[in-house]
């Protein structure tokens, strides 16, 4: 890739094509693991924890490399990620115990 050597400051700390191929490859592997978990028909609680964990890893890979966040300024990360985590934590704390309570009302 001779064109790559002549780029300006805009792309000088950008990841390479090979790195993107690796990220794509690992995303496919993790998807395969998820499908395998479904095939094994694990107990639902364990399955949910594993699936959410794998999905978080996959989304972190997409955000960090495909969406380039790892190579941006830390300020952009601080605006986007903690905000999201805070909002989701609030929803989980204030909404979910309620649905757990409803489960026990079933016969």
């Amino acid at each position: 890739m001779s064109a790559h050597d002549t780029t300006t400051a805009e792309t000088h700390h950008s990841p390479t094509k090979k790195l993107f191929m690796w990220v794509w490859f690992w995303l496919l592997i993790l998807t395969g693991v998820e499908v395998l978990l479904a095939y094994l028909r694990l107990e639902p609680h364990l399955m949910l924890i594993l699936l959410v964990g794998l999905s978080l890893i996959k989304s972190a890979l997409i955000v960090a490399y495909f969406m380039h966040l790892r190579f941006e300024k830390i300020g952009l990360f601080l605006v986007v990620v903690p905000t999201l985590v805070f909002c989701l934590t609030m929803i989980l704390i204030f909404v979910f115990p309620d649905s757990m309570r409803i489960v026990h009302l079933h016969p």
């Binding site: 998807t31 699936l51 941006e72």
Partner: protein, 211 residues
């Protein structure tokens, strides 16, 4: 609009100043939109989890073949279209316009394939008696949440395809620059990211336990 030399203004990594995010307004705007959109999807998925948890007869209807395999193939299409989008952004920044346009259009083709295959699955479910308001396997909310979540995502993919076609057209005619391509790439990767949650939560958690 005069383009600022962002690298020159924002020297150190955490000093605020004129360009605290060291990025252009388009990109920051897209990130903020994606932040709000991810909350939309999060609340939709959490609402799904809520009604599922509090339902007495929630069905787990999906067989490995064809439903799970079909959804896995959809995941493969979306992930691959993200890869071509990354290549498009890289080519755009290297100013290889023709290559970038081809990669953007390839991404859009992936999006169209996703929507077509997903709609075929929808119609299979309609034929089996599952609609947004009815479900012969159990709780009717299953249909509501399934079509609500996948429909909201499919809407995003469809809008993304239109967006990418506009970007490809404009970039090919040199009306848009590489920043436009990069920002449209952010949107596309986000749509891919959302599917990374819908696929396990809606499909894999609903695999038929009797198998």
């Amino acid at each position: 609009m005069a383009e600022l030399d962002i690298d020159a203004i924002a020297g150190s990594s955490w000093d605020g100043g004129a360009a605290p995010f060291a990025t252009n307004t388009k990109k920051l705007g897209m990130w903020l939109f994606l932040l709000s959109d991810s909350l939309t999807f999060s609340t939709a998925i959490l609402a799904y989890a809520y009604v599922r948890l509090s339902s007495a007869n929630w069905p787990r209807p999906f067989e490995i073949s064809p439903a799970i395999l079909n959804a896995t193939f959809l995941t493969f299409i979306l992930l691959s279209s993200s890869l071509t989008m990354v290549m498009a952004v890289a080519a755009a920044h290297r100013n290889e316009i023709k290559k970038a346009v081809i990669y953007i259009l390839l991404t859009a083709v992936g999006g169209i394939a996703f929507v077509v295959l997903h709609l075929m699955e929808w119609f299979r479910l309609f034929n089996e008696g599952v609609t947004p308001w009815a479900n012969k396997w159990g709780d009717p909310l299953f249909g509501g949440t399934f079509f609500g979540l996948t429909g909201l995502h499919m809407l995003h993919v469809s809008i993304g395809v239109i967006y990418l076609c506009i970007i490809a057209f404009g970039f090919g005619r040199r009306k848009f620059n590489a920043d436009h391509v990069e920002v449209s790439g952010l949107y596309w990767h986000f749509v891919d990211l959302v599917w990374m949650f819908i696929f396990p939560m809606v499909y894999l958690m609903s695999v038929n336990l009797k198998g």
